[in-house]
Symmetry: C2
Subunit: 706 residues, 2 copies
């Protein structure tokens, strides 16, 4: 990849920066006065822009000559119908054919009724605004493409084709980048060590929060890093500012709002015209129905991946078998399981799911603080340590066993997969070693599970307790071990094996907390960030992205067929206000997956439309939202699906939210019932979950076609 | 029981009759003009009655002397606080103690915070209206008590105590009647024949639609029936008219509406004050939680009691085992399973739940006609005959096997029971024989299942095809075989055994169909009803009630410890309009259980309040409603629960509505999620389901206390 990509749009626009800062300020203010109109919001009817439009039309009517009118007509037609890379005709069909080719087993598009839209193209905004809007959206799409490509993440092919066509270039298949998750042959032992590559002996050092790779220590002393793309913070800030400004602009809001409404109407019309045809199609598809179409739980925390009943049963079972085993030690005193329960004044026989008290209830609604306490069974952190942690007196054996039981249920169900999250906190450099020790010792592997690393954004907590000196230290703890294992895998065998099973990183926290600090060129460097305050979301995301980008390039260059890590920035626990800033940075940094963003993107039509254009994966958990922030029937899942956004369903925390033995099926069943989804709809959502996930290509295509 | 009970309120009030007819007429008219105010409805604010109230208060203020006022105060206090059978004090406590006594294992009422309401009792209506209202409600309660007692059905003890106290009588425990479901010792073979009682040799004859019992044929010729209570149609009509008039009266609507609001507020206040206390209580309850608290599926159709996946699996399995078995015969031609599928142009291997097409979808919403077609797998009535019917070429073997598989799942789940419905149509006198042959041949018995008989109200269909000559014939076909088996069990062994497993009757149809005919003293007798039109709901219900009342008295008198049948009139598939008339007759006839009446009682506060006062069991299926008539979030389940009505959850048709392997748990889980029910709430609903059902007393108390 050309390193000069980073300088794309490098002309720092002072106006944009200032506008973005104004928006940011008003966003902060908004937090206090919620009644004001959100700057990213657009009113349903939008009377002002309608009036503008009407005036524009009247003016046009009177002024415009027939000549000019024709020209405008032509131009707008060109804009709306131009197909990039179209070799045969100017109709929409080639794009569809492209899909057919890349999806070889899809039999044929049924003979659907279609609506042709003819006549003058009406964008819904004035011609001048339309040009500004399109240029803005074009630049936004290029920004995302840049961040995705430089970190070796997939970018939607159709969008890339359009972008190349607008630039007057030819799109080439070989230019495409995508992560390669294939790492193991069939029936190969996932824990084998004989195929671990040789050490490279490179030297790594973190500079200004980003890991740099040097051929040797000497090269590091001379500050001569190896020839690889490195990120540029100032350009990132500019890009962010541009996006913030873009999504707050009136005409862009109006235009994208109208486009989204149009998409929604298209869906409705298609459904009305072709519902029966689709249903026929579904019925004629042999062997395959909703039950045996593959689905992936795209967002689930390992520490809550079992349901409450399962955890309870496990606790009772462990007591029956292991009562006299030493399982706990505090202040040097060792306790057996029996003694531990005695100390807690409990007997497992008396335990019920109610006394276990891990289920979210009415008490947790809009109370994220209370929700977090639900992770402690019977309110006792000792039990959480024993049953739900990887590090404890028994080396996380119980936790590993529970997870393997969950995995074996998935394997039995055959068509269900999941991507559970394990935590790396960045508090100590030992964390990766300990986690990979746990993974290898207990052989926590299942073909139906891929692992994600979640990084809680709790620098402020560690700093206040003086565990770390500055934010840079936290970044070092998180990233240096991974670089080290990539460069010298023979010295880090366990971590290397663990990394083969990891597919991405994940950012976890309550995004509604507004840090009040805007990430700008003047923000302190990570090693200078030694105040107690948490850096802003954007700051976190930039440094996560920057390091993962370097890491991915290293892994891609130096090892063929090795795992490429992927930024999965998942917006967790978002309240309805002031989150647009965070999502902007996600859109920019090329986060591959979003969680619960439904709750925030509802507010910004521009972001929604950009998410649609690039098909950013969104993992939604309406049941979790229902317990925490948003009533089920008000969840935007259905609306997003109808607008064509790429949504999937995930459980988040079965321990806290679900009742039945099959949490993912429960999630699908409730969505199907409440939103009256057709088989077609739920199968499409299941398909999305497969496309979003990081299973190997093989399983993915299997999931879609067999 | 004294036969003169029937003459209670026998003074036929001409005014009431005329008023009721007027209401009925306006109800019919209403069907055309839905925009008008429903006569049973009350506006949320009710400005007219408020104004009346205000005027009354002003008048009172000015006129009333202090003396009079005191008297009024005293009187209203007496009315509101009088406790029947209270031996210790005039406080509310004795009633609670009563409950404690009858529920021996309930440990103690927790120390809840309570709100005391002091000061003058305000009914919300004027004193004059208040008296009229109370007298009306009193009479309504007595009417229900009469119909319940004469047919040996349980009547709420607390209500009975109040009624006796108002009458100045003493309530006695030995006066209570209740059905006795105990029919078999532990581990006794349910199909044993050696304990079948001797024949009685009585003679039965149907006269005017009711079966009469005579000592002999000669007694019948002389019209000298045995000394037993028989119903009186004119009194029934008078009672109905009274109830119709009552629920349409303004002051009664206002008063009951206010009482319901009051109940609702009490629930909210209790919840706010004691939620934590309740939760503590729940947590401290050892061994027992929502998962292992017993729950009964109170309304489920046998022909749809498996889920779609189960049916699909069974069809595939049957094909693997039985491909060459003769399973179908039409017009004398016999077909093997292989040939049948070939004829249908199908191969079971290709079948999916989509092609099976038994699940309700958006297409069925508000389309009951489409819904009924969903009972045919792959749209083929041949497969329905083969897999979901008791009478076919293989004597209903497949259907029996599927049901036994469902039963074995229930037994494995241990805490789940169900009451599936089987149909008797009344089209031929052979139906009972055939059904009991099926039951005995395949030994369709499970300790976790009790059977109900559903009687579709489709006289018009049979008459139009000339299967029966008049409505009386249909009644004969339905009831004579049951009387015959009760009197001469030795000649009807199979039916006798089957009857031991049946717990009630059920009326099935779309209640929204208004017959337009009002049941009155002038209505034709059943044997005179030879027109093609269907009799009204009330007419059906009266004749079902009348026969079951005689039957129950016969069974109770002549056989100790035999099964007593129970009227379970379940209002199926109700639309939101014009159904109050039907429910009135249910309230009168003492139906023990209601289904989906949520949809209609929402409209009449008077009926709702009467249902509350006598705790009429209501079985609700919000998922079924959601697919058919009413969106999930709008279902009145939560509101009814909060008002104190006795609601339970049921699945109705798992084949059509549910997705998971545990339909009843799915129903509970979705209700808990969408309505944010606490563990307390769902356990109370589960408790209600146990109290509503017809399991033996033993299992009931086991379900509640262990």
């Amino acid at each position: 990849l050309p390193i000069n990509w980073w300088c794309l749009f490098a002309e720092t626009d002072e106006n944009i920066r200032r506008f973005a800062e104004k928006i940011f300020a008003s966003d902060v203010k908004d937090e206090e006065s919620r009644m004001e109109l959100d700057p990213f919001d657009v009113a349903e009817s939008c009377p002002i822009s309608q009036q503008e439009m009407r005036e524009e039309l009247i003016q046009r009517e009177s002024k415009e000559s027939v000549e000019k009118r024709k020209k405008r007509l032509q131009r707008s037609r060109t804009i709306s119908l131009a197909i990039p890379g179209a070799k045969t005709s100017a109709s929409q069909l080639p794009a569809i054919k492209e899909v057919e080719i890349s999806v070889p087993l899809y039999q044929s598009v049924p003979d659907f009724q279609r609506v042709a839209i003819t006549g003058d193209y009406a964008s819904g905004v004035t011609v001048e605004d339309f040009e500004v809007v399109c240029k803005g959206l074009f630049r936004a799409l290029l920004i995302r493409e840049k961040y995705m490509r430089t970190s070796h993440q997939r970018y939607l092919r159709t969008t890339a084709q359009y972008l190349r066509s607008i630039e007057g270039e030819t799109w080439k298949e070989e230019d495409e980048v995508y992560p390669d998750f294939t790492f193991k042959e069939h029936d190969e032992d996932p824990f084998r060590t004989d195929n671990i590559p040789e050490n490279l002996g490179y030297h790594t050092e973190m500079r200004d929060g980003v890991v740099y790779i040097y051929a040797s220590k000497e090269a590091a002393a001379k500050n001569e890093p190896k020839d690889m793309p490195y990120p540029d913070r100032n350009i990132f800030v500019d890009d962010m500012n541009f996006l913030i400004a873009l999504i707050a602009q009136g005409p862009v809001k109006t235009y994208t709002h109208r486009r989204l409404k149009f998409l929604f109407s298209k869906f409705s019309v298609h459904e009305m015209l072709n519902e029966m045809e689709e249903m026929k199609e579904v019925k004629n598809n042999p062997h395959r129905d909703f039950y045996n179409c593959r689905k992936v739980d795209t967002h689930i925390h390992a520490a809550a991946c079992m349901n409450q009943k399962h955890l309870l049963r496990f606790i009772k079972k462990s007591y029956m078998v292991d009562a006299d085993r030493i399982v706990h030690s505090s202040k040097g005193k060792k306790l057996t399981l029996k003694e531990l329960f005695k100390k807690l004044n409990l007997h497992p026989y008396d335990l019920t799911v109610d006394s276990l008290d891990v289920h979210a209830g009415r008490q947790t609604f809009q109370r994220f603080d209370k929700f977090n306490a639900k992770y402690n069974p019977v309110g006792a952190s000792e039990l959480r340590d024993l049953y739900l942690k990887t590090e404890n007196c028994i080396d996380g054996e119980y936790f590993a066993t529970i997870i393997k039981e969950v995995a074996s249920d998935l394997e039995d169900a055959k068509y269900q997969h999941s991507e559970p999250r394990l935590s790396i906190y960045g508090c100590s450099p030992e964390e990766w070693t300990k986690l990979s020790f746990w993974f290898n010792k207990h052989k926590v592997y299942s073909p139906n599970m891929k692992w994600m690393i979640q990084i809680p954004r709790i620098y402020d907590v560690f700093k206040s307790k003086n565990f770390i000196s500055h934010f840079g230290k936290m970044l070092e703890n998180i990233f240096l071990p991974v670089f080290e294992a990539t460069i010298n895998p023979q010295d880090n065998k366990e971590l290397s094996i663990f990394l083969r099973n990891i597919t991405g990183f994940d950012s976890v926290d309550d995004e509604s907390k507004h840090s009040g600090h805007m990430f700008s060129a003047k923000s302190p460097k990570p090693q200078e960030w030694d105040i107690e305050k948490n850096p802003s979301y954007t700051y976190y995301i930039y440094y996560m992205y920057a390091n993962i980008m370097v890491l991915n390039n290293l892994r891609k260059q130096k090892r063929s067929k090795v795992l490429v890590l992927c930024v999965y920035l998942i917006l967790q626990y978002i309240k309805l206000s002031n989150c647009s800033i965070s999502t902007v940075s996600d859109f920019g940094t090329g986060s591959s997956k979003h969680h619960k963003t439904g709750l925030l993107k509802k507010k910004s039509p521009v972001l929604q439309y950009l998410y649609y254009l690039t098909q950013v994966p969104i993992a939604m958990s309406p049941l979790s939202n229902n317990s925490l922030f948003l009533e089920y029937a008000k969840n935007p899942l259905l609306e997003f699906h109808q607008k064509g956004l790429m949504v999937s369903l995930s459980t988040d925390d079965p321990m806290q939210f679900h009742y039945t033995k099959e949490p993912l099926m429960e999630e699908y069943a409730i969505a199907a019932q409440v939103f009256k989804l057709s088989t077609c709809d739920i199968c499409e959502i299941a398909k999305n979950s497969v496309l979003q996930c990081s299973l190997s290509h093989e399983v993915q295509s299997f999931g879609l076609h067999y």
